[in-house]
């Protein structure tokens, strides 16, 4: 049986709530990437402008999250870097996939 890993520094943080929060953040980022991909694909954006749209929507999602948390990041996540900026590369592949699919469906095929 695997025992859960508990570090001494983490005893101040409620682990289950942090896990729920991180899961929700991951879901939120996936929705954001999907929307960004659809927007970039349907509008027929080209090359670097499309990637710019992805970064812009990512930052908008982070800003909405900040407003929802009333800017008190420490109460909900470990650090502000984690909550706002951390996952940008991992969801970029998802964005590329959705962008290619919608761009083809709407503009070319």
């Amino acid at each position: 049986m695997e025992e859960p890993k508990v570090e001494l520094d983490d005893l101040e943080v409620n682990q289950e709530r942090l896990k729920l929060n991180t899961n929700q953040l991951k879901n939120l980022r996936v929705y954001g990437s999907l929307n960004a991909g659809m927007i970039a694909g349907i509008l027929g954006m080209d090359g670097w402008i499309g990637i710019g749209i992805y970064v812009a929507i990512f930052l908008i999602v982070s800003a909405c999250l900040a407003i929802k948390m009333n800017f008190r990041v420490k109460e909900y996540f470990k650090s502000s870097y984690d909550a706002y900026y951390s996952g940008i590369g991992t969801d970029m592949l998802l964005f590329l996939m959705i962008w290619v699919i919608f761009h083809n469906l709407v503009n070319i095929l």
């Binding site: 879901n27 969801d91 590329l96 503009n107």
Partner: protein, 268 residues
């Protein structure tokens, strides 16, 4: 450069079917993993060598737990536990580290029936699906252009993205159907699947990610086989780690920590 417009029938009979079929197979794989996890029963430890391995594993777990959570114990308690493990004559770690190194072939054959079956199942459910999908796409849908990628690419990608299309001057942006397969595979049908499945079960999400990572890395159980070769060195390392631990009881610091937390809450 004028755009090439592609026939409607390619969209109806190639593009959408590839996406839908790959998505369905991904969902099916998710359900299959869930089903296999439910059917997994605990393995009985029967042979003596396996009992010995379990004892070794428990000893290492105990010493690692002590090294990690030493702050929760008061001074005398920590010293007693450490002496029980590390004492020069009668400590468990010193006795265990004097065992001879195990013969690697023998230890691998003991673990084989249980671990190999699991490895085979995981590999089957991953690689077979990928290979079958690749064959299907490249057999039925090869030889024509299916779409266009929106960003500019260099000429080096031509062989990967335009497999089967032999027109030399065609812009690299126009891709054949096998590249849609790659885009979908790496891009993350997994993420969308996680959106649908991941809400009920957190552990399930970790399994699929770990599966993909293990397939990418090749040999998933190398670390555990490496440990079986020489347990003596492992125990000596654990012992030096335990003896080097600077112990301090967290209760002594608790007043300062409480003041810090209260300040943080009261100021906001």
């Amino acid at each position: 450069m004028s755009d090439i417009l592609i026939d409607d029938r390619i969209r109806d009979w190639v593009f959408l079917p590839i996406i839908i079929v790959m998505f369905m197979i991904q969902m099916f794989r998710g359900l299959l993993t869930k089903y296999m996890d439910n059917k997994k029963t605990t393995q009985k430890v029967t042979s003596k060598a396996q009992v010995g391995e379990m004892i070794d594993k428990n000893i290492t777990q105990q010493s690692q737990r002590l090294a990690r959570l030493h702050g929760l114990l008061p001074d005398h308690s920590f010293k007693m536990k450490r002496a029980h493990l590390c004492d020069n004559k009668s400590g468990i770690l010193t006795k265990a580290s004097e065992k001879p190194a195990k013969d690697p072939m023998q230890s691998m054959s003991m673990m084989n029936p249980a671990a190999m079956a699991d490895m085979l199942k995981q590999n089957l459910s991953g690689i077979v699906f990928m290979a079958v999908q690749y064959q299907w796409v490249s057999y039925f849908f090869s030889g024509f252009v299916i779409g266009k990628v929106p960003f500019p690419l260099t000429q080096k990608f031509r062989s990967m993205l335009q497999r089967g299309v032999d027109v030399q001057n065609l812009d690299v942006r126009y891709i054949s159907s096998i590249s849609i397969y790659f885009v979908l595979l790496f891009g993350g049908l997994q993420k969308i699947q996680q959106l649908m499945f991941g809400d009920d079960n957190d552990e399930f999400v970790d399994d699929t990610q770990m599966q993909m990572q293990m397939q990418m890395m090749g040999m998933p159980t190398m670390p555990s086989f490496g440990q079986q070769n020489d347990p003596g060195k492992l125990f000596i390392a654990e012992r030096t780690r335990l003896e080097g631990v600077k112990h301090s009881f967290e209760l002594n610091k608790s007043q300062d920590k409480a003041i810090k937390s209260l300040k943080r809450f009261l100021i906001q």
